[in-house]
Symmetry: C3
């Protein structure tokens, strides 16, 4: 690969890694597309919300069960992604970090507004980059408001 | 065009499409630059706020009249653009989608804070990409707060 | 440099200029990494918060003193960067503008939420792009809430 092509590929990877995150939140904000969420993770992918006082889940079945519960209790989602940056990218793996402002409204009218970070680990697969880890935590601590919408799933 | 140049052009288009949106909001947040807004639309461009319970406007004159009214009633704007992604891009047309957190303060002191999405359709012109459609709606429903600032124009 | 390489370099510069801003906020949000902040500025860099009713500081020592004070009084930071766009880029200098939603919580429990813009001037150095000016102001005016956390340093 020429030097120019290496430089081009580096930019393409950066944009593709952000696309995976954007696709994840597109699905999260549909309020129904569980399979769209699952498709962003490798089969052994980890979804870790211990930084929010919630669970650490591994694998498609566990993540699917979690979001099935979330979508049952929540009426509206709006996840505003900011500060995305790639920390490392290699032939097979990559890491990134970013922020999200998460606004949600429960079916019982609960209002949630949170300021969070996430650390992401990726693997390059035949179907493009997938997340092997999505690890989210609070930048500004919040009390138990999120439990009402996302807890006990 | 070489394969390398096609890949480069794809990235350039992606960035240029986001620039049009950013230029639109630069003008919207000046509180006066109606012509800067108009310049982001094709002559037959549609500005559709039916998703916000407001009007669907077509053409420069209608859009100009709307923003003239908005700027008359509104003291401050702050539109924070996130989650921008290109959905399709061809030789002559493109589509994109994204979010915006819109904060506004009316001249009478009204405070508005909304979480919205927009779908954009673009046409490539001799003056670069222009919007043929800007279609905005609420991610988190809001009541009639926006009517005070943007209604009846 | 070939035309293709010039076009590639333009994109690389754009991404690198945003990286400097992102690195700045990574440090600001650690609540301790004063040297990480300093590293984003040239030795003669200006940090101008007069648009927020605060000070205009010049040079590493003055900026270091400011953030040492901020970190002493503040428990949590969350700066959500949006609307970043490069306004000009040359061989040695560049300018950019963008927005930030700043959420902070003081050690005494104070809550701050602000909607701001920044104008940035950069210089290309042997260590990459550095900020010669970071000039921040309010998009939506706020009262004296920020004084509690960032004032009198």
């Amino acid at each position: 690969m020429s030097d120019m092509e290496k430089r081009l590929k580096k930019i393409e990877d950066r944009l593709a890694l952000e696309d995976v995150l954007q696709n994840y939140y597109v699905a999260v904000d549909t309020m129904h597309d569980v399979e769209g969420i699952i498709d962003c993770f490798t089969e052994d992918g980890v979804f870790d919300l211990t930084g929010l006082g919630l669970s650490r889940l591994q694998g498609h079945d566990a993540i699917r069960a979690f979001f099935t519960g979330v979508f049952k209790d929540t009426a509206h989602h709006s996840h505003h992604v900011t500060n995305f940056r790639v920390k490392s990218v290699g032939e097979h793996d990559a890491t990134a970090r970013g922020y999200v402002i998460g606004k949600a409204e429960g079916k019982a009218g609960e209002q949630v507004l949170v300021y969070c970070y996430y650390n992401i680990e990726y693997r390059r697969t035949a179907q493009g980059w997938k997340m092997t880890l999505f690890d989210e935590g609070a930048l500004i601590p919040f009390g138990d408001q999120i439990d009402d919408l996302h807890g006990d799933h």
